[in-house]
Every structure is written in structure tokens, then in C-alpha cells.
């Protein structure tokens, strides 16, 4: 290689390395899969808000993936200033790694969940397999698409909602409940690692008859592909609370505590709540959710994770999704 080529390469590499953006405040938000569009819109609103508040620009770096996987990356050193994950136990895992202070869930209103969601069924146009309730998922010949509860938050809500239905159906008989849930998972055709992967499997690749989906993800699919799908809201489902919090160890290291706090607080503002509603997340503000009553079934019976049936995330996580837990047994058998 001639010297001239080498010199050109050297100059080129220097150019690549030496064009960092001018010093600017930066915030990293590690989130779960279906919030991509929500935070894209929210970040723009927040940048404007921060500009008005502090006369300063802020860059927000987003990362998305299966909730448990994302929590893992934060534990391994992915320096998120805030985490906005699918369920509390993933954040608890980060807390146990010593990165988030105890008691984080009571720092913000509504269990630190600025928006909630629930689990619905996305079926193909005309609902050819007549899937109307949880019991239909266990029928023979029904192809179910859900992500893997081990890596995805949404999938754990799916699983627990099915469990809740079976608990009532089989009168708390746990053997029958397990048999039912196992049958549902026997019908699963593809087990992706995150909610968005499952949506693509169902919507793009045309696999399966029913997608167990976040309500927001189901509405997004309707909007993306109008006329191809229908949403079936089962008579009972689960109140999914995706919480948000600051990662104390990293904000202290990066000096971003004030910025991160404001970022999360703004989610509860009227503007933040409306952005959530517009992206099919149920706003936690009871007044603002009414503005979106045309697509949220507000009368839906929703069980919560703190119901005695589950006993909160700590208990439920260990019993159902821990190593050797119920899900492991179901999926191995």
C-alpha cells in the first residue's frame, strides 16, 4: 500500500473520530420494545420543554428491546439515566444489582407508572378462528403468537392474564390452571424475545391466528395496516403497569439527576399524558384518559399484580418466571 493511501486513511479516520457533537447535555433512556413511537414523540416534546425551562438543548438517546434483556444490559453496564421498562420486577433486578435506590416505586405517582396498558388479542380480519376469550387460546388448531416470558415484559403480562382467567374458570384449582396455561403455550408457534419481534412475526410474516399483545401495540398494528386485523378485548385482562425510574448510580456518575428527574416528571404533565394517550397507552390521569374513551374500553375488568392471586411482582416473578418456576416446568414438559 502506498504512503499516500495510508495518509489518506489516517486523515479519514481522524475525521471520523474527531467530530463529536458540541458539548451538550445528554440523557439515555433504556426502554422496552413497544415504546419506540411513544418516546420518539415524547422526546421531542421534552426537548422543547427543557429548552423553555433551562434554555438548554438536550440530546436523548433511546434504546429498545425485550424488557428483561434491557434490564440485563443496564446491570452489565449500559449506563441508562432512566429506565422505562415493562414491569416492576425488571427494575427491581436493577435495584438488586445496587444501581437503583430502594423504594423507587413510591417516588412517582401511581406506582411510578405514568401510563398503563392491558393485554388484548390481535386477530386476523373477520376473526376466522372465533377467538373471543382466553379459553379459546387453548383450543386445538389455534396458532398463538406471544414473546417469551423469560425475556419480555409483555409476555409476562400475557401469561398472568391467562392465569387469572383460568383461576376464575377452574375455581382456583392450580393443577387445572397450569394445564390450561400449558395448553396455551403448546399452541405457541413462535416465541420471540420481545414484543416487537412478535408483532412482526404476526403482522409482517403472517404467522399464527392470534397475537397476545399490549393494547398499545395492537392499536399501532391496526394503524400501520388498516383493514387487515381486528382487536378482540377479552372480558377480563390484567392491568399492566410499566414503571419508570431514575438509575441512581448512573445519574450520579453522569451528573444528570436534575435532568432525569424532570424527564420523568414531565411524563405526568397534561402534555405528557396526552402523548401517551395518542400512542394508545392509557394515561394514568383519570381526566385525560376520558379524552381517549373512543378506543379504550374503560369498563374492562382488570386484575392487578397486587391481587392476592399474584401477591405482587416479587412473589409472582419468583413463583412463575424464576429458574425452575411454573413457566419453566410448563415449557419443558
Amino acid at each position: 500500500m502506498s504512503n499516500r493511501v495510508l495518509a489518506a486513511l489516517a486523515v479519514f479516520s481522524l475525521l471520523l473520530i474527531s467530530v463529536p457533537a458540541p458539548a451538550q447535555e445528554e440523557l439515555t433512556n433504556v426502554s422496552y420494545d413497544p415504546t419506540r413511537e411513544l418516546y420518539e414523540a415524547y422526546n421531542q416534546a421534552f426537548q422543547k420543554h427543557w429548552q423553555e425551562l433551562k434554555k438548554a438543548d438536550v440530546t436523548i438517546v433511546q434504546s429498545h428491546g425485550g424488557s428483561a434483556k434491557q434490564a440485563r444490559s443496564v446491570i452489565e453496564g449500559n449506563e441508562a439515566d432512566v429506565v422505562t421498562l415493562a414491569l416492576a420486577s425488571d427494575i427491581t433486578a436493577i435495584e438488586e444489582a445496587g444501581l437503583i435506590n430502594k423504594g423507587w416505586q413510591s417516588e412517582l405517582p401511581n406506582n411510578s407508572s405514568p401510563y398503563t396498558s392491558t393485554i388484548v388479542f390481535l386477530v386476523r380480519k373477520g376473526n376466522p378462528k372465533k377467538i373471543l376469550d382466553w379459553g379459546d387460546l387453548a383450543r386445538e388448531g389455534v396458532g398463538v403468537i406471544t414473546p417469551n416470558p423469560k425475556t419480555s415484559g409483555g409476555a409476562r403480562w400475557n401469561y398472568l392474564a391467562a392465569w387469572d382467567w383460568a383461576d376464575k374458570e377452574y375455581d382456583h384449582d392450580e393443577t387445572k390452571i397450569v394445564a390450561f396455561v400449558k395448553q396455551v403455550f403448546d399452541n405457541v408457534l413462535v416465541l420471540d424475545s420481545g414484543a416487537r419481534g412478535s408483532t412482526n412475526t404476526f403482522v409482517q410474516n403472517g404467522q399464527g391466528d392470534v397475537l397476545l399483545a399490549w393494547e398499545n401495540e395492537a392499536y399501532l398494528s391496526l394503524a400501520e395496516r388498516p383493514g387487515e386485523f381486528e382487536i378482540v378485548t377479552p372480558p377480563t385482562s390484567i392491568l399492566a403497569e410499566p414503571p419508570v425510574t431514575i438509575v441512581d448510580a448512573y445519574v450520579d456518575k453522569n451528573g444528570t439527576r436534575e435532568l432525569a428527574t424532570e424527564y420523568l416528571k414531565f411524563l405526568y404533565s397534561d402534555e405528557g399524558q396526552r402523548i401517551a394517550g395518542a400512542h394508545y397507552y392509557r394515561p394514568s390521569n383519570p381526566e385525560i384518559i376520558k379524552e381517549f374513551a373512543d378506543y379504550f374500553d374503560l369498563g374492562l375488568k382488570l386484575v392487578t399484580i397486587d391481587d392476592p392471586l399474584f401477591g405482587g411482582w416479587e412473589v409472582a416473578q419468583k413463583k412463575h418466571f424464576g429458574d425452575g418456576g411454573v413457566f419453566d416446568q410448563i415449557y419443558e414438559k
Binding site: S13, T28, V61, H64, I75, E76, G77, E79, R196
Partner: protein
């Protein structure tokens, strides 16, 4: 028929190295020596290259039989254009076999190869390109000039540049050490160079998390010095270096081994220092193999997905390389954009492969006068 073909292959394997000692005294011995420590695959590799080595060697006093062998090698090499210069044995088999080959079998084999390539390679690539440009040129330009795409492209280029440089230096060093010296652990080094080919990319990523992650072995040191490796650019570069280690070394070793050391020894005897010997004697011989391997290495480095995905953290605009960015676009329902960005990579691959063919063609052109 099959036994015939097998014998031809075996002959093809044996003949060219036998030609080397005829051409240039000690170099064959050195090649033999090195071959002992190289694997079976290496030997096939070597014989292909040695055939080429003979061509330049033959005028300096090779016997009749030798120059015939060299001619066969040259003819085979001449036909070799499309299939890639790394494997000299395949075309030779085709060339000799085809005199007795049943035309039906010949036709079937060619048809199957072409149809398979069309279904598996050409059609999907055309689909990507048509999707990418299907929404019009404006959409394409908008997609590829998007801030995040440009940042991903920059990171990909930086990563490839560093990975290729690192592996070129390592490849040359390792090839030199393996073919010029005898030392303990020589066989082990050859095996280690191959390791990244055998290991799944997810493991390539995880080993860096386990070593340099917050809970990894090196964490206390990294934290004390405020260094960040995984979920940052260094981790992405390291993962890419790891998966592309074999490319340069694997290409250079057989060429150096086939060349032997006599010319270098002569240079040293005439008073040339190490660097002068390397740049004026060794480098001109391996130059095309080196360019060739750098081209392949760049292609792989730019396209790496698995290992990089594990160490990236998927931070938009910071740790997303082009392949990761494509996945994100696809996941966000931005299909047109995803295909437009894919087209960048596809076009790059086509450019790279064209460059590769050009290198093969030029290197053959250069060697031809030696034969005539």
C-alpha cells in the same frame, strides 16, 4: 467416474508442490516444514497457491515435467476468475474431468448451481434493491441522509477501519512468525486464528460482556480509570476485531509458506535490515493476497451483526452500527427506510466483490509474463 475425479484431485494436490523444489532449491523444503504444522484445509489452500508460485519459478530451470505441471496450473488459474482464487484445486478438477464427463451430468450440475444461486442470492438481493428504490429516489436519499443513519454509517466505517488495520497488522505478524520461525505453541496459534470462524457470534459478544462489563473481571480497573468498553464504541470495535481475526492471517500464511525464505535470506546476506527485507522482498510477493484479504475483512467487518448486537446496548445514534440500525428501522415499521439503508450495505458488498475480482484479475495479469 468418481474414482477418476478423486485421483485427479489427489494428483492436483500433489503435483504443484513437487514442482517447487525444481524451481527454487530450499523453498520447497521450507514449505514442507510449514505444511506439517498446518491443517488439512490449509494444505488444500497451500497447493492452490503453490501452483501459482511455480509459474514464475519455471523459467529459471524447471524440468519438462515441471513446466507442464506449471502450465496446467496456469490454465486452471486462468479459468478460475469467477470462483475465487483461494481454492486452486476445484477448477483444476473441472478442467481435467470434463473430457470424460457425461454432458447430462455436466448440464445438471451447472443448472442446479445457477438456479440455487438465483433463488438464494440474486432474487433476495434484487428484492432489497427494488424495495429500497421502489418509493423513489427522494425517499432513498431522505432515508440514507437521516441523522441516525449517518451516525450509524460513521460508526460502521470507523469500526471497520480499526478492525481491518488491527487484523492486517496481526495477520502479517502471525503469518510471518508461523512461516519463518519454529516455536512452541505454533499449532495452537494456527488453531486460535481459526477460532472466530468456529465460535458463534453471540459468544464472541458475551465474552466481552463477561470480561469488560460492569460485573466483569476487568471492571474494577476500568472503573478506576473511568474507561468504558462494552455498550460503547471500544466494545463494538473489539467484537468486530474478534470476528474478523482469521481473514488476513489465513490468506497470508499459505502464500508466505509457499514462497519459502530463500529470497529473504539472500536479502539479509546482502545486508538488508528486517524492515527493508520485508518491504522490498516479502511485501511485493504477498501484496495481492494482502489486498484481497483486506477487502474480504472489510466486507465482514461492515456487515457484522451478532457479536456487535450483544455488546452494543442499542443506543440510538451512539452504539448503533448500520446492520443494527437496519434492524431498528425494520422493528419500527419503517420498512422503506430499512431497505434503503440495507441497499447501502448491499451496494457496498457489490463494490467490494468487484474490487476482489479486479484484484484477482490484476494479480494474474502480473504473473502471466513469468509463464510465457
Amino acid at each position: 467416474m468418481t474414482t477418476d475425479a478423486a485421483e485427479t484431485t489427489a494428483e492436483g494436490l500433489v503435483t504443484p508442490p513437487a514442482g517447487v523444489p525444481g524451481g527454487s532449491g530450499e523453498s520447497g523444503g521450507a514449505a514442507e516444514e510449514v505444511k506439517n504444522i498446518l491443517s488439512e484445509a490449509e494444505r488444500n489452500f497451500l497447493s492452490g497457491r503453490t501452483g501459482r508460485g511455480t509459474e514464475t519459478g519455471s523459467p529459471t530451470g524447471a524440468g519438462r515435467a515441471d513446466s507442464e505441471a506449471a502450465d496446467a496450473g496456469a490454465r486452471a488459474d486462468g479459468e478460475d476468475g469467477g470462483t475465487g482464487g483461494t481454492d486452486g484445486t476445484t477448477p483444476r478438477r473441472g478442467r481435467r474431468g470434463h473430457r470424460q464427463e457425461n454432458p447430462l451430468i455436466r448440464g445438471t450440475l451447472i443448472a442446479v448451481s445457477l438456479v440455487f444461486a438465483a433463488l438464494m442470492l440474486v432474487l433476495p438481493l434484487l428484492a432489497v434493491l427494488s424495495q429500497a428504490f421502489g418509493a423513489g429516489w427522494d425517499n432513498f436519499v431522505r432515508s440514507v441522509t437521516d441523522t441516525f443513519t449517518v451516525k450509524a454509517l460513521k460508526l460502521t466505517l470507523l469500526t471497520s477501519l480499526v478492525a481491518v488495520t488491527a487484523n492486517t497488522l496481526f495477520g502479517l505478524t502471525a503469518a510471518w512468525a508461523l512461516t519463518r520461525y519454529r516455536f512452541r505453541g505454533q499449532g495452537l496459534l494456527v488453531t486460535l486464528i481459526d477460532l472466530p470462524f468456529a465460535v458463534s457470534p453471540i459468544i464472541a459478544g458475551l465474552i466481552f460482556i463477561l470480561t469488560y462489563g460492569r460485573l466483569g473481571w476487568a471492571a474494577p480497573f476500568l472503573e478506576a480509570h473511568d474507561l468504558k468498553i462494552v455498550f460503547a464504541t471500544p466494545g463494538i470495535i473489539m467484537a468486530t476485531v474478534f470476528v474478523t481475526i482469521p481473514f488476513v492471517a489465513r490468506e497470508i500464511i499459505p502464500v508466505l509458506a509457499a514462497r519459502g525464505t530463500d529470497e529473504e535470506q539472500a536479502a539479509v546476506l546482502m545486508g538488508a535490515g528486517f524492515f527493508r527485507t520485508f518491504f522490498q522482498v516479502t511485501l511485493p510477493h504477498i501484496r495481492w493476497a494482502l489486498v484481497y484479504s483486506v477487502i474480504l475483512c472489510s466486507a465482514r467487518a461492515m456487515g457484522e451483526f451478532g457479536a456487535v448486537s450483544v455488546v452494543s446496548g442499542h443506543l440510538r445514534g451512539k452504539t448503533n452500527t448500520l446492520p443494527l440500525h437496519i434492524e431498528i428501522l425494520f422493528n419500527e415499521h419503517h420498512y422503506r427506510e430499512a431497505f434503503a439503508v440495507s441497499a447501502i450495505l448491499v451496494i457496498t458488498s457489490i463494490v467490494i466483490l468487484t474490487a476482489r475480482s479486479l484484484v484477482e484479475w490484476v494479480s494474474k495479469k502480473e504473473e502471466e509474463p513469468g509463464v510465457r
